[in-house]
Amino acid sequence: MEVVVERRGGLTALAIFGGVTFLALAALEVSAIWIQYPAFFTSGGNIVIGEVNEGTGFWLDHLLKSFVVGLVAGLFLYACPRLKTGTLEGYSFLVGAGVMALGLGVIFTLSWLGEGLSALLENEGWNILNAFRLEIPLGIGIGIAVLGIWKNQPRYISK
């Protein structure tokens, strides 16, 4: 079965937008390691491996977050050239990246809610910017847009 993806321009633009924004967020995450642990990139020694009870961050945590966010960016960017040529693989990668972005947005939302509720329950007050991440609106927004495209498959795919 030959599948041709229609309306390629709009889909490619969405994939580029998703790829570039998530790539920027992954880069920000890596830069947090640089800022908090400069020795990590220079000497390779004497690095504090975690801050006791401070909860401000940890290089492994930043590294893993940048990996996951970077992976979503990679999926969007991988889709771009394939969408341009109208292949099913490009469409699939756009949908897959959207699903991952939505998942990431939901997970970060739940983490944010968890932290906020904990603070409220312990009478510490909820600073809503605490644990709030840009991946939340971006992931959920792009994810919903992609799900819309997926739901209206006949508009974008012809066999």
Binding site: E51, D61, L75, F93, V95, G96, L113, A131
Partner: protein, 653 residues
Amino acid sequence: MAQTIAVIGNPNVGKTVVFNALTGLRAHVANWPGVTVEKKTGKLDDNLIVDLPGVYSLSPVAVDDLIARNFIVRDNPDLVVDILDGTNLERNLYLALLLAEFEVPLVFALNMMDVVRTRKMQVDVGKLGELLGVPIVPTAAIKKEGIDDLKRQIKTALARKPPIPSIKYSQELESRIEKVVGILAEQAGTFYPEHRRWAAIKLLENDKEVVKELRASYPGAVTKVDSVRVLDDEFAFASERYEKIAEIVKACYVKEEDALTTSDILDKVFLHKWFGIPIFMAMMWMLFEFTFHFGAPFMTMIEWVQGALSDPILESSWGGTWYASFLADGIIGGMFSVFIFLPNIFLMFLGLSFLEDSGYLSRAAFVMDRLMYKIGFHGRSFVSLILGFGCNIPAIMSARAIEDENDRLTTILVNQNISCGARLPVYIIIGGAVWGAAAGSIVYSLYALGILAAISMALLFRKTLFKGERAPFVLELGDYRMPTAKYTGIHMWERGREFLKKAGTIIFVVVVVMWCLQYLPWGVEPGDSALYKVGQFFSPVFIPLGFGIVATVGLVFGFLAKEVVVAAFAMMLGVAEDAGDLGALIFADLGGNPVIAFSYLVFVLLYVPCVASLGAIYRETGSWKWTAFSALYGVGLAYLGASLVQLIGGVWF
């Protein structure tokens, strides 16, 4: 009189969902093949109903196949209900024909009719029943559609046995069947007397089990049968069955040409040769991030309950007595040091159930197979390893579905490296105290380390203890499905319930024993108590790793159940007001050194999961040698792993 009904079918066709719907039970169901590895029984009215492992044929290749096949051919159920996947009729009809060949009263349930409708397929159920000569009930068991009709059909079939279908082969094959039936009637009168035609077909197909049975009772008959058999009989029978299936499908099945499914789209990404494994790693990271952060407010609520129960005791007039301490610090403090992690454990099981029900976990096994193939390990083993995230015991049992004995033993022995839910409390309390909000990533890294250790040990075992060719890996990938809240909730509860049961039994007993040991001999200082002496006895082994007496006691009692590690700390360090305080006390006990804290977590990850898992290894291997080996190599690997963490951590950090 009570009768027996067997529920059978190919893997992942919804047998257990049908079984649950018929019996009202809640046996574990999942969107991947090989979940049922043993018989499960329930009741339909007064009749016994048995859920059998999924099989493709009645010729066994793995332990679970043998369970299903033996039940059908030896236990002679009064009725067999074969569950067919309506979306994949061609494949499912093969087993249906084999059952018809066995000449047993049959009812077919044509399941997944909801998916059939969604995919715009059409099945002429009436015509299908007519061609097969068996009553067919269309069902969508997950939505409870057709279940009442199926119950009615089963009752009717039990009351008035339905006509037994007859499968006829070409004249050439029929004449050979007739000859073998004659030989059996003449020389092996008691050999499957009610299923002689079936036995004849199996003997002509050279079915190893049936030939072995005949040789054991009537060796002379085997020689005669051998003289009738033609070399390609096995293929001739299979080929004629497939021809018949093709005719049936053509007559009653309309499939929209090349419809694009969700699986067609998502599998291009999730099974991609470069992105597949990173996506799996990302999914697992999201699972632990969710588990750690979303569980935090619920932990606070449980702390409130603990305070509400223990504070009135300690503040009462008898607050200073030994029995008040026993109740508040021993029972309540000890048990709640475990209970407090219930939200995290339930959330992790919720996430795992979601991934499992969606169909993603079978994809994870598939993408990991590419990596496993290179090291000679079996992809099916990875399914067992993933099940170990919940509990190692069912994961060890699930290795029954692995055909090759070397692969099966390897899978059983390396499963203990996979981090189960019981180890989560230790990771969370120490991880949270040392690394704060980044503890989710620490938990993730420990789970990833567990997978890496399991794969490395599998490589070692396959190169040394279990040498041999790697068996081919066939895993059927079911469709992606949106998990339903009901089933995902049920699965979460099933797994979490085991944890609760353990808390009410073994953990409770161990906590009471530990409290008593802490105060014995009566009147001594805590440093001279029996519990402390236990720690002192084992501490020379752990001193090189920097683990003190309290940490040692945790590891020793953790051998019984991993949850007890935290309870031991809580008891010996004094029950803290909340998990954060207890974590800080534990961290201080570990010298306030993050490297030692991480090496302690690695030790907890790699040594024997619990005494019950050793029992499961013994049951599955039938060997004390392998059971002892598993315990010893686990401790050795844990020691090596913790030492390596300290060595590398000492140089780098």
